[in-house]
Symmetry: D2
Subunit: 343 residues, 4 copies
Amino acid sequence: MIIIMEPEATHEQIDTVLERIQEIGLNVQINKGSEQVVLGLIGDTRHIQDVAFQRYKGVAKTVRISNTYKLTSREFHPQDTVVDVDGVKIGDGSFVTMAGPCSIEGLDQIRETARMAKAGGAKILRGGAYKPRTSPYAFQGLEEEGLRYIRQAADEFDMKVITEVMDVEHIEVVAKYADILQIGARNMQNFKLLAAVGKTGKPIGLKRGISGTIDEWLNAAEYIAVSEKSPVIFIERGIRTYETATRNTFDLSAVPLIKKLSHFPIIVDPSHGTGVWDLVTPMARAGVAAGADGLIVEIHPDPEKAWSDGPQSLNEKNYLKMMKEVNVMTEAMKKINELKGDK
Amino acid sequence: MIIIMEPEATHEQIDTVLERIQEIGLNVQINKGSEQVVLGLIGDTRHIQDVAFQRYKGVAKTVRISNTYKLTSREFHPQDTVVDVDGVKIGDGSFVTMAGPCSIEGLDQIRETARMAKAGGAKILRGGAYKPRTSPYAFQGLEEEGLRYIRQAADEFDMKVITEVMDVEHIEVVAKYADILQIGARNMQNFKLLAAVGKTGKPIGLKRGISGTIDEWLNAAEYIAVSEKSPVIFIERGIRTYETATRNTFDLSAVPLIKKLSHFPIIVDPSHGTGVWDLVTPMARAGVAAGADGLIVEIHPDPEKAWSDGPQSLNEKNYLKMMKEVNVMTEAMKKINELKGDK
Amino acid sequence: MIIIMEPEATHEQIDTVLERIQEIGLNVQINKGSEQVVLGLIGDTRHIQDVAFQRYKGVAKTVRISNTYKLTSREFHPQDTVVDVDGVKIGDGSFVTMAGPCSIEGLDQIRETARMAKAGGAKILRGGAYKPRTSPYAFQGLEEEGLRYIRQAADEFDMKVITEVMDVEHIEVVAKYADILQIGARNMQNFKLLAAVGKTGKPIGLKRGISGTIDEWLNAAEYIAVSEKSPVIFIERGIRTYETATRNTFDLSAVPLIKKLSHFPIIVDPSHGTGVWDLVTPMARAGVAAGADGLIVEIHPDPEKAWSDGPQSLNEKNYLKMMKEVNVMTEAMKKINELKGDK
Amino acid sequence: MIIIMEPEATHEQIDTVLERIQEIGLNVQINKGSEQVVLGLIGDTRHIQDVAFQRYKGVAKTVRISNTYKLTSREFHPQDTVVDVDGVKIGDGSFVTMAGPCSIEGLDQIRETARMAKAGGAKILRGGAYKPRTSPYAFQGLEEEGLRYIRQAADEFDMKVITEVMDVEHIEVVAKYADILQIGARNMQNFKLLAAVGKTGKPIGLKRGISGTIDEWLNAAEYIAVSEKSPVIFIERGIRTYETATRNTFDLSAVPLIKKLSHFPIIVDPSHGTGVWDLVTPMARAGVAAGADGLIVEIHPDPEKAWSDGPQSLNEKNYLKMMKEVNVMTEAMKKINELKGDK
């Protein structure tokens, strides 16, 4: 952290700041120049992020140089982390598709969706048993019954399971049935939940909060990473902006940015990212091209009758068409990675 | 809910939609005109908010007329709800101030802050014992020890206590010490937590989420209200926008808007709303003028040394000055309410 | 400007940056410490804001210390600027109301509105003759005919005129009839127009752009100020955010913030700030309390039949009621300013 | 437009609305049901978008069904418009690259950049001669001298020219040198300028405003289209959101959405969309995959020394690498379009 004093800062003001730095156990590099004094803090500043230096008289600005996260950062861990979901690899250069309904509605529905998903090439089955809903009167999920159904359907089609866990109380039951625990967008900063799932050892699919910054997202991952048990899979699912023509604004720049800043893989969710079924396929293609490690997509045997998220779910025909296009794109990305290898 | 069919919608398409309406147990009013067919759904549509009518062929648009919340709405409960916090009334036309530090740092600090708060006229002491922090390496609160301190300090100065509860697990311990349970901005849509605090019977201070819409906020209150035990106090604390000159964008229009749509009281938090101590006083005044039922403000005996939120905390001198100005404003509002009474 | 080098920056990298600084004619203060090198640029950095120092190898971060605007800043001009609109003072501690219709619709309408406006205490008549409309098929204004009408109506009731000028070509004709030239939100960064109106010598009402930052707004004012002829009146009119319950999000924190950073007065526009007529009065009160120097409000003899902005316009009864409340608030603010004077 | 009356609306209230509809010359379809009355307006509602029906007593909601734009819409013009830039086709299924510096800095710089651009496969040279700058003290462009240079450089390398026109006054001079007139983001709603460039007959590159909605963008295009002379090329360049890790949030969903709603082509600008040079290449790839008709990218022989936008400009090596990857992507898109053709 750098503290820039105002040109007219007094000796006394500077000394007050220096005392405070000493008090909190850090060293300091003092740069006295003709224009202004600049103080460089030396030591681990992650623990002192709340010190209100900008509140001191004579301080013009404070600038944080280092990140507040560590285990999540690529600086700390330069090589890519490959997440192993019981044999299915995410982040190893292959491209993994997760597909399924928004809500698990019954055994028949999830089995039929699993068949569709597998036919298109998905290796991981998604589906919600605990649903975070804006209104208390909306369908809240089948709970453990739903978990049993999705596990059975996934096993039948030799797939893995990703499903959301909404609170600490249900981690155990969800972890019993699921291969990846998903943290929903509304819970990106539910810190108690993050810390708790991080201890399960299961891979955690961490959705970006609806107004989460890249920096907050990386710090949320750090809450999981500190236990050094569960790896993280970032899931970009769109952010809230002024634009209402799409359900969210799908921020695909997050893909190369997260890959630059962190070693954990990132996948994209064009269903929530757009909210409109006929935008899902082009944005899935764009996700591949941006460099994502995978895709999570909502599909349903009969989207008109889906219990939730019908408007953004693909039916079988459109899903299979999307997967063909995604495959062309992943082939193109292989060529591009070979181009890079030549350099 | 109104379903507007496209001008070129076929009889078959209209029939498919009508069948679906019947299937979900609602009646329908069919308006066939020269331009297009308009279907009006009759019955309680709160439970069918997920039906994907817009996904059906031939449907141009769907329009929701009624709200998805009910107990929270002023339609349902036209008169103002007055919240009684163990004798301190909120929403009865008086103006209540809650003041205290961001974090409880120790017994001396919270006692000294309570003294200051009381001296300015605050009746409720605020202070965090469980702190939701962006980084896992930041100070996370004194937990139950902190709760004991704030209770002791409040009792000494004959004040009530508001403090945040972050997860279901800690509701019991927080409720043991606090008079109002606060739900933080990051938890506005932590639905399990909302449902659980709603059962305690304690008043719930519900902060607006950092990107919560007015409609989502009212629905979040509904999760609390459904138990018909705990009343809600809305807390406007600023929203996330593109502007970075302030920590958040303080949306004071929410005050008259919430008062129009709901019967529960609303107070304002100019500390988080602005993030800058010298903007707190003018925005506290503006909050009174907008019609808020109260104010929650961060104060500290020594803001430069506060363990968190120092930049937005008022010291004693500035807090007392703010309270004088707030008092002039509340007097002015009394006159204005008398003007209204004359009409 | 401060340039912070990375800890691992090489001598060569530092030298390259130093050369570039020399090339652009600035001096530098070099701070070599144990952790990293910090370079402080000495001289006027307003002209070199585009130098891409952050693009140089070895540079960790660049931090701008000084503003890119000057004549607009309070640093440069510590005392408040009082704008004199042909005898009506803005920014001298009084509170000025500007009222009138969105569009001038005819002579009778603007005369009737002027009568209403004056009856409530407004000293300045607003009304649009050139209207910036989202769609080319919407009403675009009566143009010069409208200007003649508003001038006539204002003169009849001894009022001043504020009206929008949309392009350089019409400055002359608008300036012939108006006392204050208004720059609309969509033109906040129409730099050619800003520079041109700045040369007229007339006061300029500069609306904040729909997504204008405080910093961009101050820089836009600087385009006007550089001619040192026309004073600026800032107009806060709400910004675009994700919230759709109001037409815009009315950012009242801008009032104390602009008063801290600039010497020019600032007024508020609760009509566009909220977009809903029954929120206008509480937010007008809040604007006074936040410290605004005045108010601009849309009124209409018959809002249901207004040619534009009907939903946010006040009728005579509601406008007169608002003005009574605003007057109570301005009295309260006088008391508060006396309190400050005592200190 | 549909007007939905409240269930408790009186006959008198309904009649008042009906009278108003008649007054403005429209017919109406009255749907009286058991729950509420729904009025369907019949006729061209583009000219009456300002009628404040929502202001009338008894009106619950108004819903616009048809767009306020027409000539820009795909409904009106189902087949794709192919823009012919003096022989270079945009929107015909090929993919066109426009490349060049942010600012034209001199003849040598623009010639050298043209050589680079051509070497990578770009057919159109970009470069600014009139620069809209946040601060009046920043470099404002070489003006007509710059236009001469870019024309000369483009002719030497057999390229076309796209450059920005900032105001009505300069249209003639810019049109003398340029093949495509660009409207910058800050001018997306400078309606006088839009109308004026629309009359030149030159293709117009219409950048999305920094907070422009999709609907406003289409309406802005309509201002150009009404003259039926100049075709429009939409340019997605990122929007302003709360996220600051990138300069803007690059909204690639706009690509398939604009193609669905309009017949005009759309290209993407990953330089402004991200603001960071090492995110430009992945986002250029993503733009191709999303279905864009082309790409506009900032390149510079020496980005560290660029007079503006250095941080987001590519040097020769990185630009050539990007173009190789873009070419792999355009090949992939051809395969995908063939897949579609089979269906």
